[in-house]
């Protein structure tokens, strides 16, 4: 395969994985190839990244694909290692497991992965070679990373490595936390390196294109709220503050751009003195910024837990922008949860306390109708002409009464009312979902990922 073919194939794979690489950017990358040293792999990687990856959330996918298309080694062409240079050198293909684990602990303690020590890469390759192979049919083989992890089980080395690092220092303190963090990072680095090498071997056996299609995860702002894993959730939470900040910045800009306010009589008359009492220039008062009040009504049942979790975080990150934010949660009974989010409290803790203490569930199955009626009865005065009402939920009411009239009245009293539904549009009205009925009363938006949520709030402002 020539360099041009490989380049074109790589660009194509990036586009397939959802990275928007324009023709011009592809050409820039090709021009960059002409001025750099192609034998420097990291330079090549960064050159591609600089010209084609213009958003940090695309970078992990890019790195995975880069490792596949420009692998650090190929099994067939590997130069035989020079042996015998060091008498104590471990023979990675033959040594017993205990010694291999010693070696791994040594590498992890020395931050070998982070500093790019070649011995680390070599160790990873040897381990995949030795433990990762599983025969599959005649003359074929499969590669797995879990079997490598099972054999070496780096997690169980932790206690012993911590002893080594702390060397008699007091346990449980800051030093241990810091060391633990460092070692966990190194272990993750080892797992990633093994997974990457496994992918490379699979690609060698069955072709790059085939595996490229299945390995790249969507960027974090495209992850479906309803399919979030625990690891993703942490990453999502990290998106909250930048998102809130971005939206806040956006809101203030919009405020200032709005038309000027009423005539400032005093300033106009004062200014007219310089033109002999004739008012030539009018001065206006700056417009009072419109600070809307926000009422959030949130389905907290298990089916949409991650979604409401995330939106609540965002709501409270945004509270500086609104004069007043009140939040209510419900499963089949509604309760105010504003008190759990007092300023300065830690949001993650607040959500934990909320799920434990708030009185929102009688039978544990969502009942929108009963919740809306309860809300109108108990907290109806929360909604006024300056309020934006935001309802979050999947509109799956377990075949209970919808209480459409109550909702219509609530929506009518509010300045705006919106409904965010984390389900894809195609699934609305299937099963017990009554999305369209509610949609006729309150404007309903599909909101499946951070990108859609951001788009919605920008329109709202």
């Amino acid at each position: 395969m020539s360099l041009v073919d490989r380049h074109v194939g790589f660009v194509d794979a990036l586009r397939r994985a959802g990275l928007p690489v324009s023709l011009a950017e592809g050409l820039d990358a090709a021009r960059a190839l002409a001025v750099i040293e192609l034998t420097e792999r990291e330079t090549l990687r960064e050159a591609y990244a600089a010209t084609m990856v213009k958003r940090p959330s695309y970078r992990p996918g890019f790195d995975t694909l880069f490792d596949l298309w420009f692998p650090p080694v190929t099994s067939a062409l590997r130069a035989p290692r020079e042996t015998g240079t060091d008498a104590d050198e471990l023979d990675l293909g033959q040594a017993d497991l205990a010694r291999l684990r010693d070696r791994l602990a040594e590498l992890l303690l020395g931050d070998a992965g982070a500093t790019g020590d070649p011995a680390f890469a070599e160790f990873v390759r040897a381990m995949v070679e030795r433990f990762g192979r599983q025969p599959a049919g005649a003359g074929r083989q499969n590669w797995f990373s879990y079997s490598v992890m099972r054999a070496l089980s780096p997690g169980t080395l932790m206690a012993r490595m911590l002893d080594e690092v702390l060397r008699g220092q007091e346990r449980g303190g800051l030093a241990e936390k810091v060391a633990r963090r460092r070692l966990t990072d190194n272990i993750t680095g080892f797992e990633d390196a093994v997974a990457s090498d496994v992918r490379r071997r699979i690609a060698e056996d069955s072709g790059v294109e085939k595996i490229a299609r299945s390995v790249v995860k969507p960027p974090v702002d495209q992850i479906d709220f309803l399919r979030v894993t625990k690891a993703d959730l942490a990453a999502l939470r990290r998106e909250v503050y930048p998102l809130a900040r971005r939206l806040a910045a956006r809101l203030t800009i919009k405020h200032r751009l709005g038309q000027r306010g009423r005539l400032d009589f005093r300033r106009t008359v004062r200014a007219s003195l310089s033109t002999g009492g004739v008012p030539m220039v009018t001065h206006m008062r700056p417009r009072r910024p419109h600070k809307p009040e926000l009422v959030v009504l949130c389905d907290a049942s298990d089916s949409v837990a991650t979604f409401s979790h995330f939106t609540l975080l965002l709501t409270y990150a945004l509270r500086e922008q609104f004069t007043k934010v009140r939040a209510f949660a419900f499963v089949d009974t509604v309760d105010e949860i504003t008190r759990f989010f007092a300023p300065g409290t830690d949001v993650v803790d607040a959500i934990t306390t909320m799920t434990r203490e708030a009185d929102i569930s009688r039978f544990g199955r969502s009942d929108y109708g009963h919740s809306f009626e309860g809300f109108a009865e108990k907290y109806g005065d929360a909604i006024g002409p300056r309020t934006s009402l935001l309802i979050l939920g999947d509109a799956r009411s377990n075949y209970q009464r919808p209480a459409l009239a109550t909702l219509r009245r609530l929506a009518g009293e509010a300045r705006h009312a919106y409904w965010l539904n984390p389900e894809p549009h195609a699934q609305w009205d299937t099963g017990d979902s009554i999305a369209t009925s509610y949609g006729t009363v309150v404007e309903m938006h599909e909101c499946r990922n951070v990108a859609q949520l951001a788009a919605f709030i920008e329109d709202l402002a």
């Binding site: 928007p20 324009s22 011009a24 950017e25 820039d28 021009r31 960059a32 001025v35 750099i36 040293e37 420097e40 990291e42 330079t43 990687r45 960064e46 050159a47 990244a49 600089a50 010209t51 990856v53 213009k54 958003r55 940090p56 970078r59 931050d111 982070a114 500093t115 449980g172 303190g173 800051l174 936390k177 810091v178 060391a179 963090r181 460092r182 990072d185 942490a234 939470r237 990290r238 503050y241 930048p242 900040r245 971005r246 910045a249 956006r250 800009i253 200032r256 300065g344 409290t345 830690d346 993650v348």
Partner: protein, 288 residues
Amino acid sequence: MTSWFTSPADAGERLAAVGYLADDGIATSVFLAAALGKPLLAEGPAGVGKTQLAKVVAAATGAELIRLQCYEGLDEARALYEWNYKKQLLRIQASGDQGWAETHDDIFSEEFLLERPLLKAIRRTAPTVLLIDEIDKADVEVEGLLLEILSDYQVTIPELGTIVATRKPYVVLTSNATRELSEALKRRCLYLHLDYPSPERERDIVLAQVPGIEASLAEQLARTVATLRALELKKSPSIAETIDWAHTLLALGRTELDESTTTGTLGVVLKHASDQTRAIKELGLPAR
């Protein structure tokens, strides 16, 4: 046009010589921006050395730095050029009975043109680094204004015609990502995402920036800051704050970062009360 850097490695070395430790990504992007003649867009959280990057590129190559600080409401007259209309008025009054055509040609000439940073950078003949700082703070219209300059290195002034750069300036744009920049702008730039450094690199930065600090303390600092960043904080500590922390510890005469010292000086790196509470809880520090 003479080349700014000969290779990524060369870029890395020359930046290091002026006190900026570049990793592979930074060195490659800095080199490519010059080699391909494209602007470099550096994006990332506050305090990771985006603006500093432009400054050290200027210092390493002996070029002059021209800076355009963006803010809300920045317009053409502040960024590009402006006619000195007061002087034009004087000229018209002084001209007496001169004809209209003559005066018109006269008052739209070089003499009455006020150069702003962008035009200045385009017209300079000596090596120039143009820093367009915090582009995300400016309004969206400013991005449109920049497109002609960034892709063709030219400026069109209706009365004077198009001014093409005699020598392409080295352009660095920085952004804190408070808003998404337009695709058109991103497409014209090389993109460099500057993030918090690895503990190893941060240790080296602290050693380079804070003279007189012990290597073991720098290591401890870098590791602790990395641990803090892993917590879910409102605002993670920046490199600048790590360096402040190092200075603080030196001033206090500490040679080790133990629990009580950490609690006592946590305010240097964490500036939100809730972040401090969280760090104290998660790291098991003694309460103050």
